[in-house]
Symmetry: C4
Subunit: 206 residues, 4 copies
């Protein structure tokens, strides 16, 4: 699957942002222990970036597995735009972990990161709306109520991310706290369409 591949690569590329020090750098930092302590924001960035992409993957996977029945050309194009926003994340995660600890650039770094978080949400809303309007794309057993609830949930997350974007210009730390809250929201299990059997998904056979 092409989409799963893009997710898997974007998530694994995150590790390339935790740099292996040269021998010269290590001496400057007084050894490996000090170096590792110094680069803790990179580790935090890896952790948060991995979670973000992982959560987006889980939602996307769920969506294609239970809701999408067939695709058309436009739906595929929107999906490519969605993947484009996912593949941007190794960049924005590196920016925020390199420059959020730097007071001068903190605001710009958090802005870049919160914009990169909202882009997949927007693309996903477009994907959902397109599928909802075009008969035959979604599984006909999916209830309109269920879809509406999904879009409402997404819009709420998007609204909060917009607030984070605005906050990042003046109060970047408040923006980061808000982003952390949005993440916690995503930890709640996604809704399953109650009338669809999801029992056979072990992630391999499908």
């Amino acid at each position: 699957m092409f989409s799963d591949g893009v997710f898997a690569i974007a998530i694994t590329l995150l590790i390339l942002e935790i740099k292996i020090p040269t021998h010269e750098q290590l001496q400057q930092y007084n050894g490996l222990y000090h170096y590792l302590m110094h680069i803790w924001p990179s580790f935090l960035g890896y952790f948060v970036g991995f979670l973000s992409i992982g959560i987006y993957w889980s939602n996307h996977h769920h969506f294609f597995l239970y809701i999408v029945k067939k695709t058309d050309h436009n739906f595929n194009l929107i999906n490519i735009f969605f993947l484009m926003t996912i593949a941007l994340m190794p960049f924005s995660v590196a920016i925020v972990s390199d420059y959020a600890p730097d007071p001068e650039n903190m605001s710009a770094a958090v802005l870049v990161y919160s914009i990169s978080l909202i882009l997949p949400q927007i693309a996903f809303i477009v994907l959902l709306s397109y599928g909802k309007k075009h008969f035959g794309i979604f599984n006909p057993d999916i209830q309109q109520d269920f879809l509406k609830k999904q879009i409402r949930k997404l819009l709420m997350a998007t609204g909060m991310t917009i607030i984070a974007i605005i906050l990042s210009v003046l109060y970047p730390i408040a923006a980061l706290i808000l982003i952390a809250l949005i993440f916690l929201m995503y930890f709640l299990p996604p809704d399953n369409p109650s009338n669809i059997d999801t029992a056979s998904d072990n992630g391999i056979e499908k």
Copy 2:
């Protein structure tokens, strides 16, 4: 699927060309905001590169899903050549986004990029022609008319890309505009063989 993997990796590698600035570079550029504005051609390159590979993927995927019934050794070899031209794109996209804004190298950069666009088209024409000539490779339900129309469409895009290649030597900006037009053409939905049921493709089950 090996082919899908190559597409997914090539498309995700594009992000590696948007460089994370070092702290020294940022000071030179007067902070992150200025740096990001300065590297806008990299973002444009990412956008265009992602779209190009995405569109080629969509066509290739369509082709293998509905038209190809079985492959033989030569067909596989031609497909490997096709993938070779796809995996080149992160290179040519980086060249064009780094050097198209530089008057001295603009012409060479656009030439590199337009050559890299024509290579997958040529490989795809060879793939189609080979499959058409060798009985058993294509789904026998595919009508000859449909295939001929596909090849004609491809030849038209290839013709326009040849013009872009020639233009790039003298009028690189005109070449870029022509390339943009070719892209718009690709946004039109590909034809489906009218007599093949394409209803069950949700991109996961197949």
Copy 3:
């Protein structure tokens, strides 16, 4: 499959840590032969890193193929944490192969490596325990005895890795020897649930 993709990328990224020398570096090292001999720890690191990720993959694949019947949201989240620990390995392998030969940083390098070895084990134990407690995730034909034996084996490896972590602070060489022993243990074939037919797994059809 997303998980298989992360494993495949993490394992292939290992090669990027064997650096291609520049022409200047080669002159410094008196030619390619000397350079290659000088960087033998990188080759060893590649070998050991490839084996580690390969073995973890093999166990993970086995587990999802024969034991997991369906997943739920929490199970997926724990699996994402597991993959996060796998994708860390190209970093820790590079650290240990660059700095284990350097007496000053040896202890820190071996510590980093042994911690990176224990993380996937812990994540896997959490995955197993969660699945064991929540009815419906594991194949109901799997016997409790079999699962208990698996967890016991894992706990033994984890115990040994904890000893390696402690040793690495004072006797890093002893820690490396112990890690080599743990690896040898993994070379033993994993147990198959005796009452499940595993005959049709050729790694492609599933």
Copy 4:
């Protein structure tokens, strides 16, 4: 599929060895045209590397699709060793394209490359021999004659590669010519087991 993923990543990483020049480098080389002409060995390396990995993939894919019926733990381990030799190729291809044009390091570069070519062959022979000896791994409909012929063909290629390794020390150019001949040999279609129906393989459904 894990194996296909490793092949796809290794083959796509080859492009990272064609370096994007910095603006300073371009001035040194008198513009993009001259730079591109100067780095022709990188393009040749990309071409040859892509073909090598592509051909090994095609054979491996064929093998798992038509011959292997199930795997066991040891078979999986040997396969991991095989993949380890494949993932080495972006390194050896970069070495040969960077240093084969340099008279002082040519011999070492060709040696590295020819060793990297023989490693997957050896791993594949071990894989074939192991499968042949252990009842149940190979499709029982495969005739012993067919397998023997395959091993004989592989041994011939391996023999020629051994000669290339020896030649590379004294006559690296002769070694390169011999390697080119071995490649041509691989362009011949692989044998299909005559009594197995291979008609349904379109590379997607399997």
